[in-house]
């Protein structure tokens, strides 16, 4: 049951287009920043499709461009020194080129974002209640009493005890988990159709992480809301996303429905990510499997496949030619690799590298830490 009625909802259903099943359609999005050293490309030809009520997980390490991606889609990046190209269609309407004033129609009401660190995303000098009711009053024209009641209901729905008291408290008086719940409450206040969760649990204790993720899922189900969950942790999206996209160096290097991804991953990078999650079954003091090396320089990236310098499967070709995004046997599964995991070509490539004692291969297969460090030095 929706917690309130949106005035704008009426007009929207009338003008809704027939193919509005596709909530979000991003095509060839490209975002780069002008730095003193040159143009740094953080998002490089990314395409995404998201339907209403579904969850897309975007996974990548630091520097992969995942945070920029979500902000770029939402249009939150500064206009100064930022180059943004490509198409973003929300419910069929193009929003990529819109001005801030036009985007304000969407922010808060149609799409919202939950940020990584709840301590810094809440205004330290304003009471929590104010920060929630503000959106309500501003977007939905509620009066004081209404907004207060709605805010209370919101807080309760995100699982905050003693909601009444919390409304008149300041952020620094609350624990990290509670703060993030409040951030979520603020984001959800006006009932957006799309929620961007940008590393929502990274800044929280492990024990609280699961709670927050569960809360997000629950809210999503109740509101039939789509969610883009951005994280560096494959484990976070494992049970919670319908589709997962793996990002590296600003590009989507593999994209598949969750089960397919875990069962039939093709990108060596994805394999590396999966392998690097420590498992409970492993005996203690097992060496952690890491992917040696660092993400490439975004201003002048290497030619060919961006992951090649760190890839255990890399061959000569990979350093020169960039692989295209190709579809695998299972429909809906795309990847960018010349020598994918789980294929004969890939296996051959790996063996060739192992016998050549390539550090990346050794590091990946044998968990050889020194080898990994050697990759780092390269």
């Amino acid at each position: 049951m929706p917690l309130f009625r949106r005035r704008k909802e009426v007009t929207r259903t009338i003008t809704a287009r027939p193919e509005a099943g596709r909530l979000l359609e991003v095509t060839d999005l490209y975002t780069s920043f002008k730095t003193p050293r040159g143009l740094a490309t953080a998002v490089n030809n990314v395409s995404i499709v998201l339907e209403r009520g579904k969850t897309l997980g975007i996974v990548g390490e630091s520097g992969s461009g995942k945070s920029v991606l979500s902000r770029s889609i939402m249009g939150l990046l500064p206009k100064h020194n930022v180059v943004r190209e490509g198409s973003v269609r929300f419910e069929g309407k193009e929003i990529a080129g819109l001005s801030n004033t036009a985007m304000r129609e969407y922010w808060g009401t149609e799409m919202a974002m939950v940020f990584q660190d709840p301590m810094t995303s809440l205004n330290p000098v304003l009471k929590v209640g104010r920060q929630i009711t503000e959106s309500l009053v501003f977007h939905l024209d509620m009066d004081k009493r209404q907004s207060h009641e709605t805010a209370l209901a919101l807080l309760k729905s995100v699982g905050i005890p003693e909601a009444e008291r919390r409304l008149s408290e300041y952020p620094h008086q609350l624990s990290g988990g509670m703060r993030q719940r409040i951030v979520i409450a603020i984001a959800l206040a006006c009932g957006p159709k799309l929620l961007f969760a940008d590393e929502p649990t990274t800044a929280l204790d492990v024990t609280v992480q699961a709670q927050i993720l569960n809360l997000l899922q629950q809210q999503q189900r109740e509101r039939d809301m789509a969610m883009i969950l951005v994280t560096h942790d494959l484990g976070v999206v494992a049970g919670r996303a319908d589709e997962i996209a793996v990002m590296y160096a600003g590009q989507i290097v593999e994209r598949a429905p969750t089960r397919t991804l875990f069962a039939q991953m093709r990108m060596p990078y994805t394999e590396g990510l999966l392998r690097s999650i420590p498992k409970l079954e492993q005996p203690s003091h097992s060496r952690m499997q890491i992917i040696g090396g660092r993400p490439p320089d975004l201003v002048s990236p290497p030619p060919g496949c961006k992951f090649a310098p760190r890839c255990p499967y890399a061959q000569e070709k990979c350093h020169h030619d960039e692989p295209p995004l190709s579809e695998a046997e299972t429909p809906g599964h795309y990847y960018k690799c010349w020598f994918p995991v789980g294929t004969p070509e890939g296996q051959e490539a790996l063996e060739r590298n192992l016998s050549a004692r390539l550090p990346q291969a050794l590091a990946a297969v044998a968990g050889d830490v020194t080898a990994a460090a050697q990759v780092e030095a390269v």
């Binding site: 630091s62 920029v68 990046l77 500064p78």
Partner: protein, 324 residues
């Protein structure tokens, strides 16, 4: 004395390379405090910087060399030219009683700079010393000194300086030297807490560094560490505040002159030129603006140059006044 302006941008929380990519760019777009100053901090001294240096050198130079410069005597009267505007012989014109303004401004620089540099040195010597030991030894010494600084800062400076000079050196027949000395002492005293606080903050930051710890662990005596390790690093902050301080004192001397306790009018100083000029202005309206404008422009350009250079020194050495 002004506190250096707040440091513009805190270090970005860059745990993701992308965040690091975004932050400096947004910063770049957003930060242009004293635009040319920031440029100077990273590159070489800009045009403005060099102009400032040239002006300062010229001013100090002509002040020092005044007795030997081919200019008129400051109290020489050109009775025929009273009230004349600027001309070839008298670039700044003649004042209301026939004196050459150009010469008076140059001699005025002598007195003003003497007082300002003198009091800043006084303040640096004592304030710097106290700040250094407070920041280095910390503990109770620091608490005590900080307390003293705060107490002195709680009193308005002009009033304090005025009181001291008025009491000790305001008989009508006071000699220029005596008045100048007391001006230096009183303004110097008043500036001690400010210089002390800045020095202390800088010392605190630098004493925390590992090379100090390393020196101490090798058995170096504290005094040696302070002088050889800490002081050279604190010096830029002190230089910056010194430059800014000289500017402030020049203005302060002006204010004190207007109140009657500046350098006595028998010897020109920029301050008393303005004070006496004001009186003349009211009597000979329209005729004699150079009487005010000449010293005023001199003060303005000197203060501007000193402010600019002080900012450049500070920006170049980027001392964070975090724990003030």
């Amino acid at each position: 004395m002004p506190e250096p302006s707040a440091d513009p941008i805190p270090a970005p929380e860059a745990d993701t390379m992308v965040a690091a990519g975004v932050q400096p760019l947004v910063l770049e777009a957003a930060t242009a405090p004293a635009v040319a100053v920031e440029k100077a901090a990273t590159k070489k001294l800009g045009v403005v910087g060099w102009i400032a240096i040239v002006w300062i050198v010229a001013t100090f130079g002509s002040a020092l060399l005044a007795p030997w410069l081919p200019i008129a005597e400051p109290d020489e009267t050109f009775i025929r030219n009273i009230g004349d505007g600027p001309s070839l012989n008298h670039p700044f014109g003649i004042d209301g009683i026939g004196q050459d303004m150009f010469s008076r401004v140059i001699w005025g620089a002598r007195a003003s700079l003497l007082v300002s540099v003198g009091s800043v040195l006084f303040g640096l010597a004592f304030g710097g010393f106290f700040g250094l030991i407070a920041g280095y030894y910390r503990g109770r010494l620091d608490t005590f000194l900080s307390y003293v600084f705060n107490v002195f800062l709680a009193v308005p400076q002009l009033v304090l300086a005025l009181a001291i000079v008025a009491v000790f050196a305001s008989e009508p027949t006071v000699s220029v030297g005596k008045r100048e000395m007391w001006l230096i002492i009183s303004i110097g005293l008043v500036s001690i807490p400010i210089i002390g606080r800045i020095t202390r903050a800088s010392t605190l930051a630098w004493s925390d560094r590992e090379f100090v710890l390393a020196a101490r662990s090798m058995g170096a005596k504290n005094r040696r560490i302070i002088v050889r390790d800490v002081l050279p690093n604190v010096l830029p902050a002190m230089c910056s505040i010194a430059l800014l301080g000289i500017a402030v004192v020049i203005v302060l001397e002006g204010g004190l002159s207007i109140l009657g306790v500046g350098v006595p009018p028998s010897t020109p100083s920029w301050g008393n030129l303005i004070a006496t000029g004001r009186n003349e202005l009211t009597k000979i309206v329209g005729a004699n603006t150079q009487v005010i404008f000449a010293p005023a422009i001199a003060i303005f350009l000197t203060v501007l140059s000193l402010n600019y250079l002080g900012d450049v020194v500070r920006a170049r050495f980027d001392v964070r006044e975090s724990a003030l």
